[in-house]
């Protein structure tokens, strides 16, 4: 019941926001309130969750289409609960930011944001293959309009490439869903059963690789992240990408043991390549959004390395890093948005010197940046360390790549920080440009606080993501 309410609350909120004839600010306020209620509901759910119990929890199951074995089955495991938690927090921050900047056509905008929240939570809760597909696709509908209507100058091109890429992946997945479901006789992910069919495996793997995105299927990423409204870009990179992680965790790894074995080498190599390539692009990107966008590509490569290490350390690290990256990426994107609003541009050449007289901005950006570049002691360092040790079992070369990536992350993050805060004052930085306002700080502080809390206690996520700390069980046994 609780899980269903967690899915339905934002959907109902979206309908209310869309239908009620409220003034602009009240509409956005109502949406923000719903998003905060969603966070509260998630906290209640987390409170009831028993992290020592390996079974599906807070679950509900109802028949939907019996003749094909399709059911509405939702529930959480440790890792999916953490991913859902990141979702509700990130969405609340994004909706809060949209409220602060006062997006046009607030009824449509906020209704779509809430729908997106509901769809992502449903994706993380889905325990039926078809329900997962439905939720996975349902995310696309609001995203399409959010980017296409409220995006920047090249928004139409951005939506087009985004939709073409993701739909190509999704339709491959649909073919795989049909093939898998029909051969198994059920779509439920609670039933045991594996498949050795490479084609079905590839349908899923490619769909998730596009969504993440993983190198070399990231063609939609730069345009979409640059043209989307900044808080939508935050949601895209922070949590929509993590639905791919979830897909790998509940579908690809446990259901296709043999194809996974065959393809592990290739996927690891591509992930490592993506990690380095994304980091280098981030280092060369001429604008703020480019840096954050390409760093997301790199981080997704890192997370996939952890996943396909196929051992306890790698999988726990991947989940920890997913949650951490969701929070880091949102913080960074919102900060980028705040800087862009002050200066009217995100070009690094036109920025600089913003630290002088703006201590709060400098402090928050520096803190978030330090966590982003995985300074030892931070949650991202913990995640990267777990992944690095995990993937060592697959070959020491991968660990070297991860270590190299940490250095590269330091390079591009420091470049971003110094280009905004230090050097000489850029032409776009006017003296009147304000420091962070209390509202903006209010949006960022909870995110940073979560990051610091996780930095102090990363085991909160990494040791409770899988039952009794044996994540590799999902690969070896039936869930």
């Amino acid at each position: 019941m609780l899980t269903t309410s967690l899915i339905l609350l934002p959907v109902v909120g979206a309908l209310l926001v869309a239908v009620l004839p409220l003034p602009r600010l009240t509409t956005a306020g109502l949406a923000f309130l719903v998003a905060l209620l969603e966070v509260a509901l998630w906290i209640v759910a987390a409170g009831r969750f028993d992290f020592d119990d390996p079974a599906l929890q807070l679950g509900t199951s109802r028949e939907w289409v019996e003749s094909l074995g399709i059911s509405y089955t939702v529930g959480f495991y440790g890792f999916s609960l953490w991913l859902a938690g990141a979702t509700v927090i990130v969405c609340a921050a994004a909706i809060g930011y949209a409220l602060w900047v006062g997006r046009d056509r607030p009824r449509a905008y906020h209704a779509l944001m809430l729908l997106l929240t509901g769809a992502v939570v449903a994706t993380f809760a889905a325990q039926d293959l078809l329900l997962f597909y439905v939720a996975f696709e349902a995310m696309l509908i609001p995203l399409y309009v959010l980017v296409g209507v409220w995006g920047g100058a090249r928004r139409i091109a951005a939506t087009l490439t985004f939709v073409v890429y993701t739909m190509a992946g999704s339709l491959l997945m649909l073919a795989s869903v049909v093939a898998y479901g029909v051969t198994q006789g059920t779509f439920s992910l609670q039933e045991p059963g594996t498949s050795a069919n490479t084609w079905i495996f590839l349908g899923f793997a490619i769909a998730f690789a596009v969504k993440a995105p993983l190198f070399p299927l990231h063609g939609w990423l730069p345009l979409a992240y640059r043209e989307a409204p900044v808080e939508v870009a935050a949601v895209l990179s922070a949590i929509v990408s993590k639905t791919a992680v979830y897909g790998f965790l509940v579908i690809v790894l446990p259901r296709f043991p043999e194809p996974v074995d065959d393809f592990t080498g290739l996927i690891l190599a591509l992930s490592a390549a993506g990690l380095v390539y994304g980091s280098l692009l981030a280092f060369r990107a001429p604008d703020l959004r480019g840096i954050v966008a390409y760093s997301s590509l790199a981080q997704m490569g890192l997370i996939t390395l952890g996943l396909f290490a196929l051992n306890d350390l790698g999988l726990s690290g991947a989940v920890l890093q997913s949650v951490a990256h969701a929070l880091v990426s949102t913080t960074m994107f919102l900060l980028v948005g705040m800087v862009e609003r002050r200066c009217g541009t995100g070009d690094l050449d036109a920025l600089g010197g913003m630290a002088r007289g703006r201590p709060i901005l400098a402090t928050v950006l520096l803190t978030a940046g330090m966590i982003a570049l995985a300074v030892p002691g931070s949650v991202t360092f913990a995640g990267e360390f777990l992944i690095m040790t995990g993937v060592y079992a697959e070959g020491w070369g991968y660990s070297v790549v991860v270590a190299l990536a940490i250095v590269l992350a330091a390079m591009y993050t420091l470049r971003l920080i110094s280009a905004v805060l230090h050097v000489r004052p850029g032409p776009a930085v006017r003296d009147e440009a304000l420091d962070l306002r209390p509202v903006e700080l209010g949006l960022l502080l909870p995110l940073v606080a979560c990051l610091i809390a996780l930095s102090v206690w990363p085991a909160l996520v990494s040791e409770s993501a899988f039952w009794r700390g044996t994540p590799a069980a999902i690969v070896e046994e039936e869930p």
């Binding site: 289409v65 078809l130 509908i141 296409g148 939709v163 073409v164 190509a168 049909v178 029909v182």
Partner: protein, 487 residues
């Protein structure tokens, strides 16, 4: 004392109800004053479709096992009854769509023809032998020829009527010739007797079968027999297009399924391949051509060709599961199709011009209800989740996969990917091209009041979304109907 055959009036009641409505509407055109003609005729047609729905529901509930009516001329089974329910509901919605059509006179004739076409289709889906098959086909086709050309003051409407008449007549002739060959090969007219005649391998029978399929393919506008579709859909009055795109397709596909399964079970290896080829051509042609369209009615015409392809995949499976998924697919398809044309009609009446893609600019913001509705229909046609179109495609694909036609699944998925380009393009025009230079609606004016159309669109949205959440009950109805076919 002359012996009269006993007639199962209940089985005939849906058809008769619509015929009666047609007569009332026609009398209204002659007997009452001009100001009363439209309300009376429309009310008669609406009531007729409503009564036909109720009668068909009764027949559905009451038919435990299939039976023949009047020797084997008509079949009374749940397949026919379900198709009749769908057709009658479609007709009722189309009456609502037609209500505010700008037309000065001849309302009585219009609604009389609509009801008569509906009666013909209801008769057609119950056909039990080759004679009634042809009779039903001609019955509704003749009505449609006139309806397409109904806007006499528009040259495009007349042209469309003529095209439809010539090409449709050719299609009917092919069907008739095929029927003659089948009769020649077997000496039988009734579908089950043809099957029992066991004339397998006879060249005449195979040629006849091919021509029957071709004749029916003309009606359902499956490629390569679709040439008339874009012109006719574009030229016909939009409410007639809405009726044709949904109802003609339902009737033609259900009858194709029935004829192939009941009359030609021995040739199933031949016709499954033929139908699969038709499906692939329709999917390819419909989707590719739709990409290049800028007139919305033409675009929807090509989209309807590609939908014929999807539904033919279900027929090509040649299994009960295929039949079931075809019947399910028809429900959201009919709703989306009528709904989309209804929104086009609304825009047409507002702007008083043909609706091209650029005339949709800003629709979503100026007329939020129609905008959201069109969005829902486009996503549904593209097979997005949260609409019945998704389950339609899913069931069709799983039936095909189950029957071993995995290559048809691949073609279907590729076609879906292609179709997204033009469906999402419509959504893009509706929402993303706003701005003063694109404000095509008359400035400051409110749209013409048309609550009947609003109700029709609302009903179509409800069915499109409802068939997603209530997929199982609908599938149960479909599988009850499909189980009465001799698989």
């Amino acid at each position: 004392m002359i012996e009269t055959p006993s007639v199962d009036w209940l089985a005939l009641s849906p058809t008769l109800a619509l015929l009666a409505a047609s007569i009332v509407a026609l009398l209204a055109a002659v007997l009452v004053g001009p100001w009363l003609r439209k309300p009376i005729a429309a009310a008669a047609a609406f009531t007729g479709f409503g009564a036909a729905t109720i009668c068909a529901v009764v027949v559905y509930v009451d038919t435990e096992r299939p039976a023949f009516v009047l020797e084997e001329s008509l079949t009374r089974d749940r397949l026919a009854a379900l198709a009749q329910v769908l057709l009658a509901l479609t007709g009722a919605v189309v009456v609502l769509v037609s209500w505010a059509e700008r037309r000065r006179e001849e309302h009585g004739e219009y609604y009389a023809l609509l009801a008569a076409a509906g009666a013909g289709m209801l008769f057609f889906v119950g056909a039990g032998n080759l004679m009634t098959l042809f009779l039903g086909l001609e019955w509704f086709s003749l009505c449609l020829y006139i309806l397409v050309a109904f806007d006499r003051e528009r040259a495009t409407s007349l042209e469309a009527g003529l095209k439809y008449l010539i090409v449709g007549g050719f299609g009917s002739a092919v069907l008739l010739f095929g029927a003659a060959l089948v009769y020649g090969a077997t000496g039988e007219l009734g579908f089950s007797q043809i099957a029992a005649a066991e004339a397998g391998g006879d060249a005449f029978l195979v040629a006849g079968l091919a021509m029957v399929i071709a004749g029916l393919a003309f009606k359902m506008s499956a490629a390569p027999f679709h040439m008339w579709t874009p012109d006719v859909y574009q030229g016909a009055p939009t409410s007639v297009t809405a009726f044709m795109s949904a109802a003609t397709k339902i009737a033609a596909l259900v009858v194709t399924l029935r004829v192939l399964v009941t009359a030609f079970p021995d040739e199933s290896e031949t016709w499954t391949i033929a139908v699969a080829v038709l499906a692939v051509i329709s999917l390819a042609w419909g989707n590719l051509a739709a990409l290049a369209q800028s007139d919305v009615k033409r675009l929807l015409a090509y989209s309807s060709i590609s939908h014929a392809g999807f539904m033919l995949i279900a027929v090509a499976a040649g299994t009960e599961r295929g039949a079931e998924s075809l019947l399910f697919y028809l429900v959201p398809y009919a709703a989306m199709s009528v709904g989309a044309f209804a929104v086009v009609a609304a825009r047409e009446r507002e702007l008083e011009t043909d609706v091209r893609l650029e005339s949709l600019a800003g629709l979503g913001w100026e007329r939020p209800f129609y905008g959201i509705a069109l969005w829902v229909f486009m996503l549904g046609m593209a097979g997005f989740p949260l609409t019945g179109g998704f389950f339609g495609k899913l069931f069709v694909f799983s039936a095909a996969y189950d029957a071993g036609d995995w290559w048809l699944v691949i073609v279907g998925v590729a076609a879906t990917a292609l179709s997204l380009a033009y469906y999402l393009n419509v959504v893009r025009w509706v929402y993303m091209r706003t701005g003063p230079e694109l404000r095509v609606a008359p400035a400051g004016g409110s749209p013409p009041r048309d609550s009947a159309l609003g109700v029709a669109v609302g009903a179509a949205v409800a069915v499109t979304i409802g068939s997603f959440f209530a997929a199982q009950p609908l599938l149960d109805l479909a599988s009850d109907a499909a189980s009465q076919l001799p698989f």
